[in-house]
């Protein structure tokens, strides 16, 4: 009797012990580590702290996942090197223009199943979702953010020049006039444009051309036809020419790239410039801008029915060489860090609170990834934490929704931009630049790139 009960107790204890160790083994194999891209190196300590705080929050909710933040700044060559070597973090970001090509080349993980399982999947803006879908219909990325090109202006310089900072220019003729006035009254360049050889010159020129109604190419893929020498491009270049040589309102530096121009603007040395609507974050994080000088306006559109504002965005994507557990973990991070702040009230508030606590910008105007309703709703959730000068950005936030949003040229985007870099630089640095012949060469170059699929 006693021995049987004892034997039974021992047996049960044994089974429990086995179950416990099995359980422990199962939970330890469940723990997964993934690396994610965090901030650009050299970001302020406060920015880094807020990111780490978010990582901590995520790990609290997902105890089996460990996140390793990796600082990374996207440049063409380093991205290509890391891509080829396979050393990109598990979760990284790519611009819209590269996402589809990478997906078609098999260089991104297929997220279709996991994406469709998200509760808010059906609410996505179809056009935005398409940017992360490759030609086989597989979803290879979820949007991190979308932006439209915008006109950034220095309210302080406007005031000093006798212009009303609350009524920024709404036509290119007004841009030109205001730039002239700023230079005359303050000595600072009134309008500055990116002109570096790293495709940013072509990118901004394309923006201006789109706002006049022109297009850089027609058709798709390697069959597309380059049309960079269209009449609107000529008009845009002539406008630049006038501002540079006749009005002398563009200053003396013509090799600004994306980050240099932000730095110059934040230092108060630029009247107006064109860049993505989301650069305010960079202005704060990298260049310590004084918020009171910042103004945001929509790109002036011409009366041409084809006129529209160039849009772009960033996708959050996953390395192809991950196992199922890592992919699931990666999707959880993408969901938590990138998507939920837009669809889930508690997450939105938590995100905003963390950012605000570390003095990072909250409420920077963005384009809705879902629909406008959701966008407005999300903004009401974080209203108490908004610390960006929203009133100063009103011209943009009210004007953008009436503008037609146009995606970047689809075929060989970067090469098409690159073919225009030299043209912009020539116009800005040579008083007698031969625009038609330069454009003809650029068109040939762009067509060559498109046909060879570069």
């Amino acid at each position: 009797m006693k021995s049987k009960r004892l034997a039974g107790a021992v047996a049960i204890a044994g089974v429990l012990a086995v179950c416990a160790t099995a359980g422990a083994a199962v939970s330890s194999t469940n723990s997964v580590t993934i690396s994610v891209v965090s901030l650009i190196p050299g970001s302020t300590k406060a920015a880094i702290n807020q990111f780490n705080a978010q990582v901590a929050e995520f790990e609290k909710v997902n105890p089996t996942i460990t996140i390793k933040p990796v600082e990374y700044q996207w440049t063409g060559p380093t991205f290509a090197a890391k891509l080829a070597a396979g050393t990109l973090p598990t979760v990284f970001e790519v611009p819209f223009t590269d996402a589809r090509t990478l997906g078609d080349n098999g260089q991104l993980a297929d997220l279709t199943e996991l994406a469709k399982a998200l509760p808010y999947f059906s609410k996505y803006n179809k056009a935005v979702l398409a940017e992360g879908t490759d030609s086989k219909g597989q979803i290879i990325g979820l949007p991190k953010g979308a932006y439209a090109q915008a006109l950034h202006y220095n309210r302080k310089l406007f005031q000093e020049a006798g212009l009303d900072p609350n009524t920024p220019p709404t036509t290119w003729a007004q841009v030109r006039a205001d730039a002239r006035q700023i230079t005359q009254k303050t000595g600072q360049p009134g309008y500055v444009e990116m002109a570096k050889d790293d495709n940013t010159a072509g990118w901004i020129l394309t923006t201006v051309v789109y706002s006049l109604g022109g297009r850089m190419e027609t058709g798709y893929g390697t069959k597309a036809k380059a049309t960079v020498d269209n009449p609107e491009t000529v008009a845009a270049l002539n406008l630049l020419k006038e501002m540079r040589w006749t009005d002398n309102s563009m200053g003396s530096n013509f090799d600004y790239g994306w980050s240099d121009i932000n730095q110059a603007f934040a230092a108060g040395n630029v009247g107006m410039y064109v860049s993505g609507s989301d650069v305010y974050t960079n202005l704060v994080q990298a260049s310590n801008i004084d918020p009171s000088i910042y103004g945001l306006a929509p790109i002036p559109l011409s009366k041409n029915p084809n006129a529209g504002v160039l849009g772009g965005g960033t996708e959050a994507v996953v390395k192809p060489t991950v196992n199922a557990a890592q992919k699931a973990a990666a999707m959880k991070w993408i969901d938590f860090y990138y998507e939920q702040p837009l669809v889930s009230q508690p997450r939105a508030i938590q995100n905003a609170r963390t950012l605000a606590a570390n003095k990072q910008p909250v409420g920077v105007p963005a384009l809705p990834l879902f629909n406008e309703q959701q966008y407005n709703l999300a903004n009401t959730w974080i209203k108490p934490y908004i610390n960006v000068p929203l009133a100063q950005m009103k011209p943009f936030t009210t004007g953008i929704f009436g503008q037609k949003l146009i995606p970047e040229p689809e075929a060989s985007t970067q090469s098409v931009y690159h073919s225009l870099d030299a043209v912009v630089e020539a116009v800005l640095t040579e008083p007698d630049a031969d625009v038609p012949s330069l454009l003809q060469q650029a068109n040939q170059q762009a067509q060559q790139a498109i046909t060879s699929g570069d």
């Binding site: 190196p41 050299g42 090197a81 890391k82 080829a84 070597a85 050393t87 790239g257 932000n262």
Partner: protein, 295 residues
């Protein structure tokens, strides 16, 4: 510096003639002035601007502390820009490259010059041919080799091996060291051999201690070359925390205010400048020697 051998272009007696004294003398004085302005000037400007507030440097670059000095630039450069870390990376890369070059040049030079295997002629020929191949020819395949190494299926990107190992393949160093070994008296080797020394003992106890002068020259070249190296580390060290000063400085320019950036640049100059002042003679002799060999 006192006594320098003159080549005899102007014998000592000539200096008494006024046309020489004031003509050539005057030209030399002007040259000295020019050297000070052109050689020293930019560095002095950098030093001054490193501790000048950014605004002053932008609006009055040639002013002299119109609003006082900004020593905080240096502190910010060290702490925020983290110059110290990139500086350390540069040292790590330099030491590893130096070691790699010394090992390859001494062992290879010793084998070719002293041990002289049958295939030495072939190797010598290959080395000389390599000397005439411009570095750019190797760039792309070497890069791909580092990204996708053929046998070891693990990338070398973002590791210091990617910089250390290829540095060893310097034909110039091997030729230099081999020639030096060629000029060592053979009797010493024979005497050692007769005393029973094997090739390792010969290398370690006899040849190496005798090679100090040439190792000094090779070391100076190696460290200088590593300090100046830009394109290769730019390509293979994509992780900012591993990058050297030369690679990192340009990319942080747009996130750093001018004063702090100039301070970082100044800090980057300190060690080479100090090294130069201390090892002046080796530097200048090494360059001259290199010139003699090229001539």
């Amino acid at each position: 510096m006192s006594d320098h051998p003159s080549s005899g272009l102007i014998p000592p007696g000539e200096w008494r003639r006024p046309s020489i004294r004031f003509g050539v003398g005057g030209a030399q004085a002007m040259l000295l002035l020019l050297l000070v302005i052109v050689g020293l000037g930019p560095i002095l400007w950098l030093a001054k601007s490193a501790i000048t507030p950014t605004n002053d440097t932008i609006t009055h670059p040639m002013g002299f502390f119109t609003h006082g000095a900004a020593w905080s630039n240096l502190r910010e450069a060290w702490v925020n820009v983290d110059v110290g870390r990139y500086f350390w990376n540069t040292i790590v890369v330099a030491v590893g490259s130096w070691l790699s070059q010394i090992v390859v040049a001494t062992t290879g030079g010793y084998a070719l010059s002293v041990l002289r295997p049958r295939y030495a002629k072939l190797i010598n020929g290959l080395l000389l041919a390599t000397l005439f191949v411009p570095a750019v020819v190797l760039l792309v395949p070497l890069y791909i080799e580092i990204v996708h190494p053929p046998i070891v299926h693990h990338t070398f990107i973002d590791t210091y091996w990617a910089v250390w190992l290829p540095a060893g393949a310097s034909a110039f160093n091997v030729v230099l060291v081999k020639r030096f070994f060629d000029n060592l008296p053979r009797e010493i080797f024979e005497a050692a051999r007769i005393d029973g020394a094997g090739p390792f003992t010969l290398f370690w106890k006899i040849v190496l201690p005798l090679s100090r002068p040439i190792l000094g020259v090779v070391s100076v070249f190696a460290v200088l070359a590593s300090w100046k190296d830009f394109l290769w580390p730019l390509l293979v060290l994509t992780d900012p925390s591993k990058q050297t000063l030369s690679v990192r400085l340009p990319s942080i320019q747009s996130q750093t205010s001018l004063g702090v950036f100039l301070a970082a640049m100044f800090i980057a100059c300190l060690v080479p400048l100090a090294g130069f002042l201390v090892f002046q003679r080796s530097f200048l002799r090494g360059t001259g020697l290199g010139g003699a060999i090229k001539g």
